[in-house]
Symmetry: C2
Subunit: 237 residues, 2 copies
């Protein structure tokens, strides 16, 4: 497994920098990781390292072209990136294209995973018909202002969801299922009782908010579910 | 791994025969498997063999004391066994006691899994406060006439559910979540889009009913989820 290598890419005029980490052997596939609103964290780097250790080329996408100092600084950057869903999808696709363009990716399948805002991001990519074997959302937001039209979604969808996440209450879950069914998507939805937003990150417990909370079991089981789905879709690919 | 050994046990006057299969090495835990309404099938035996291959003592429970010739013959037997939920729970507990009573089970933790009627069965055991590390329901019915009182459920709960299962529609899913939350249970609920009843069994496709259908991905992913939950609860046990 390599260390992180910066990979420059662009969305229009916006300069972005992804971070690539390689497995020890030949990669099984390429995985783009979309971070939370803060645009990177120790937890996201851990996910990338774990994917590389499992044989994947892992690429951490860059939402903004900068690392905000804190959540207050991140919010306006996120608002700008997401102001228009079509624009946001282009920003996200720029990361897919950056990974896809690497020589070592030629002929390899791809998937995308994401956390919180990154979870919403991978669902937007699926809705946009991105050529991905699978997308996996961890505590991602589920709603959109551009529901997927029928027949567009190509990616298998796995949503790993905290049932006590106030950012995605049960009515959003039901609306998401309806949207995905209308689109003809193939989705697996995992709901974890009493589990809050950002359940994958031990740092959640330091946020001082009742909305956030680390849950070791949900973290472990959601990661295992992702691995098992990847084993399935990349074996067939 | 051994072959199947018949284990006689009783529920009151009813003579029952479980089937035990042993792992090659020392068992990690004991798992009781509750079959579908037909009280045993090639698929259930496969589940037991797979559990034994994974290091578990696996015990196929007997619902009736007989193997019905077909589904028509099974229905009155199931109606009799389930006529009263308290009586049904005793029938189910007799299998737990039979496995628990084996000398090789001493000091080992236990879990229970079940399919269709057997899925409903393991949820009834959880509601009854059975001393199990976990229960896993595969396409089980979710409703009950004896909801769990607060604080009684000891087992971790994993439900692997086909979202297109007409025997457990979405209103039952929501009612189940509410019941489990009121009981203070820890549950993970996995819902698979477009997946029908009895999705684990290739023979489902021979049933000639639109309610039933094998789904290889749901079968694979639900089994992996069960294994991953067992890895967690038995590592801690």
């Amino acid at each position: 497994m390599s260390g992180f290598e910066p990979i420059r890419y662009h969305h229009g005029e916006v300069a972005l920098t992804g971070r690539l980490i390689r497995p020890a052997g030949p990669p099984r596939a390429g995985i783009v990781i979309y971070p939370t609103i803060i645009n990177g964290s120790a937890r996201i780097e851990q996910a990338a390292r774990d994917l590389a250790a499992s044989g994947y080329l892992a690429f951490i996408a860059d939402f903004y072209g900068e690392i905000p100092a804190d959540f207050d600084a991140a919010r306006p950057l996120a608002d700008a990136a997401r102001a228009d869903t079509g624009y946001f999808r282009q920003r996200l696709r720029a990361a897919l294209d950056a990974l896809r363009g690497l020589p070592e990716m030629q002929g390899l399948p791809m998937a995308a995973i994401g956390y919180c805002m990154g979870g919403a991001a991978v669902l937007e990519l699926a809705r946009d018909g991105a050529d991905l074997a699978a997308v996996v959302s961890f505590h991602g937001l589920l709603d959109t202002d551009r529901p997927a039209p029928p027949g567009v979604i190509a990616a298998r969808i796995l949503v790993c969801h905290g049932d006590a996440d106030p950012l995605a209450p049960r009515e959003n879950v039901l609306a998401f299922w309806k949207e995905m069914d209308a689109a003809g998507a193939t989705w697996h939805f995992h709901s974890y009782s009493g589990v809050k937003h950002n359940f994958t990150d031990p740092a959640s417990d330091l946020r001082g908010s009742d909305m956030f909370g680390y849950n070791a079991s949900a973290d472990r089981q959601s990661w295992a579910a992702m691995q098992s789905l990847f084993d399935e879709v990349f074996a067939a690919g």
